[in-house]
Symmetry: C2
Subunit: 301 residues, 2 copies
């Protein structure tokens, strides 16, 4: 089943203890769609500037991603630069240039309006709601957000949350959004705002899924080296939604598998800078790491 | 199979966001033995002062714990006071009075010298080694330590580590001991010092077991409220070693089950102050929570 993502395309400049890169292709829609492309066909709605060329398009098309919804605007593409220090669990933003992203008004091509599986990447919640309402056939809409919107547009974010099925959010932001420190209670409060499931990303500590029927906790893959955490959250979401769209299922068992596939993809993403590892994967590598996750967590009755 | 623990008996005064208590029975040997008593028979070697009376002894005897190795010395019992704030992941020590514990020289009753399963609680590594060498029949010796000894007696600690099988240690201390930030590499370095398995306690993020054959990660149980984290680490160790001694097994499958039983016991311990919840358990409650841990982590292939 095709999967629709609305989000950002960006050029990232990143410094980590393992090195430094300039103007790498990034952005939430990019990481998401490349990760999800290993599971299902993906349609992207985003905006890029006139500095976005064939080299970048080839990354999408090389993964069979449909870019009919990738608008080209006059001006420069969104640029972000940041660095990671210490435990690399959080990025320190050095500079953000919104550029063409500032005026982004997502247009959903007619072809995409039948989408059943949708990911609303981290953009203005007003735009997220606007998109959501153009997708009456959606069976599963997941949404990402961040502290910037939680603080800046709390009422708009809540209106949007009331109309989505899954919130994918990091631990700190789950606490900020709910005003509750205990994660179990925080997730319950957030589920009260609309989403029937909350996926809490905990960085090196893994992911916890809170749904109506159960709580599911997955560890992060114990890597020996993390080279670049950029995009790990959107990559997680790509594997998570990619699996669900491929399975065409909303069962608890598939939500759990989806959390693991998301974790698998994120574990690959951080092994190298930018998209390097994600574009070079094989289905075998993905399945092998999925089995390694089983071995990492399995115990007998 | 009987399990031997050598450690401390203490009176704790504790403040957490949920309340305040004075002079509660505590100490590493106490939490460990009460937790382990739900799995197997337990022998304690520790020292208490003349302020330790029948009321305290009844806690041990009520759980069928053998106190032939619980020495009574003139003076006051070890006292600790501390508080937990914020995420309660680390205690802030307000006061430590070593009292009779300062001169503690563990004596292993003849009856205990055949012990096959042994836990060396967090005491001076010189004493830990002294005890370890009195136990030639030991099949599994696990050891706990802390920053105080890692910094203060690193060479003694390393000599002791060379003669034990399992190190149970928290995340920060694993990094401190190895001098390596990445936990997978840190555990590998520590295994190079002697222990064939390293159990890393990560507080609210769970536990990771690093052994020769595999890595196993278990989440913490997602409690709605943590009332008092005191003794959670020793309680974990009690459930962990209790299961292994009961099973009489050193298989990978039993090490994994042991991590879960340890986590089960720790999750109960923190629900109330001191030992209150641990002494009031039932085998049914323990098995129910073990199954809940399976539900929390299980996913299908």
């Amino acid at each position: 089943m095709a999967l629709l993502v609305v989000g950002s395309v960006a050029f990232d400049s990143i410094r980590t203890p393992h090195g430094k890169v300039e103007n790498l292709l990034g952005g939430s829609a990019t990481y998401f769609s490349v990760a999800a492309s290993w599971f299902t066909s993906v349609n992207v709605v985003a905006v890029a500037g006139d500095d976005f060329g064939d080299e970048q398009l080839r990354v999408f098309h090389g993964r069979g991603i449909d870019t009919a919804g990738l608008e080209r605007a006059q001006g420069k593409t969104f640029r972000w630069s940041g660095e990671y220090v210490g435990d690399m669990n959080e990025a320190r933003t050095l500079e953000t240039q919104l550029n063409v992203f500032e005026q982004f008004s997502p247009k959903i091509p007619a072809l995409y309006q039948e989408s059943e599986f949708v990911f609303l990447g981290n953009i203005d919640p007003v735009l997220q709601l606007h998109v959501r309402r153009q997708l009456p056939k959606a069976r599963l809409v997941a949404l990402d957000s961040m502290n910037y919107w939680i603080k800046g547009k709390p009422e708009d974010l809540k209106r949007t949350l009331a109309e989505v099925d899954v919130l994918v959010i990091n631990e700190t932001e789950a606490r900020m959004l709910s005003g509750i420190f205990n994660l179990r209670k925080a997730a319950q409060a957030i589920r009260g705002m609309g989403p029937r499931a909350v996926v809490v990303k905990r960085g090196e500590h893994g992911v916890t899924l809170f749904s109506e029927s159960s709580i599911f906790s997955a560890p992060a893959f114990p890597l020996e080296e993390v080279h670049d955490p950029t995009g790990a959250g959107d990559t997680f979401a790509g594997g998570f939604m990619g699996h669900l769209a491929r399975a065409g299922s909303l069962s608890d068992a598939d939500f759990r598998r989806a959390v693991i596939y998301g974790s698998v993809m994120a574990s690959f993403a951080v092994e190298e800078f930018g998209l390097a590892r994600l574009v070079r994967l094989t289905p075998d590598e993905i399945e092998t790491r999925y089995r390694e996750f089983r071995n990492l967590t399995h115990f007998d009755a």
